[in-house]
Symmetry: C2
Subunit: 218 residues, 2 copies
């Protein structure tokens, strides 16, 4: 439970205020085992979740059964926070546990109920939530920025550029498998494999498993 304090939701709040705030939010803990579904696409939820330990992956489901990767969650990642403000609270994604997971859940209502003990902290909490939502929005925006590139090569470069924190670092580590990367880029795995090789031949990058070094940035 102490680790919950480290979540972005609680940054900028004094330790003791934070204690009070959290007890005021009265989160409850749930465990999920690997491969279990934490949240079904289309299901209504009335809590936001915080991953305390383990990892999860969010997929967008297609009527035809195909899944598209949307995001990866790691310890202290928050989920369900966008649904707070929607009418139906229906999740647009399915959340799979990719390892054994411990997660904390906080009821939406608690977030907005003004508690008597730590109101200032409460305000900070809401602002932090805005920040979390903003971050998620921009990650989706990043993807649009990548997908609008016309060729696969350009998509890859755009992806690497964003991953490298907009060109600050030159060696990046892809946070998932190449198969998933192809999925993320909405392209074909073998086409991705081909193109990465071509880019290596053309001296643009060096590929080493999941590590990619970006060579040219003219």
């Amino acid at each position: 439970m102490e680790s919950l304090q480290n979540a972005v939701l609680f940054t900028g709040i004094q330790a003791d205020d934070c204690q009070k705030l959290i007890s005021c939010l009265s989160p409850y803990i749930r465990h999920f085992s690997k491969n279990e579904i934490i949240l079904f696409s289309g299901a209504s939820i009335k809590h936001i979740g915080v991953i305390l330990s383990g990892t999860a992956t969010a997929y967008l489901e297609h009527p035809n059964g195909i899944q598209t990767i949307m995001s990866q969650l790691k310890p202290l990642s928050v989920f369900g926070e966008i649904l707070v403000s929607t009418r139906t609270h229906k999740s647009p994604v399915t959340l799979y546990a990719t390892s054994d997971i411990t997660a904390a859940f906080i009821e939406y209502e608690r977030l907005f109920s003004i508690c008597t003990t730590a109101c200032a902290a409460h305000t900070m909490l809401i602002q932090n939530m805005l920040k979390v939502i903003g971050d998620k929005y921009f990650r989706l925006f990043d993807r649009i920025n990548i997908l609008r590139e016309k060729t696969l090569r350009e998509k890859i470069l755009a992806y690497l550029h964003i991953l490298s924190d907009r060109g600050v670092v030159s060696t990046v580590t892809i946070p998932f498998t190449k198969t998933m990367l192809a999925d993320y880029l909405l392209s074909n795995r073998s086409a991705l494999s081909k193109e990465l090789r071509k880019m290596e031949v053309d001296g643009l990058i060096t590929v080493n498993g999941r590590k990619i070094k970006i060579i040219a940035s003219p």
Copy 2:
């Protein structure tokens, strides 16, 4: 200024509370003439904007100069609200006035400063803002849902399906030109034109200018 009260930001707030709240937020009004740029991509802003009259279009700019349409704003649309919570407050899009525009601007700080007169209304305001942000998030999500379809025909159908409020209505009116639609679908205009005709021939839809009737939904 009365029209500002009708913005989503102020729904669920009593008229008199709303008056107080708005004077507390002390918005200021600005005018833009057609084709003027309201907000530059990359520019920092410290206000959220509400369109009072007129229309605007948000474009994502590419280093190479190509613009991708992101959203259309009409009276009572809000913009800049996602930037409230970010560190740099830098706009990811450029906002063009597509007609003469009147807009109200409210400083971020005012949103969170607890006023003495209408604190409850203030809380409602924040919740409304969460709703606005959530809506924007889902509109972006919709686009991903469309773009991940593999063929152009499937993209068009997915687009029409979402536009028809998930299949409730069978005749939809495209909110922009076909040229812009092709842009939105990240595809080629003449390819879109071709495919729409083919779909008409195949008896899937009927196209009448910007009105499209969806015939089959098996």
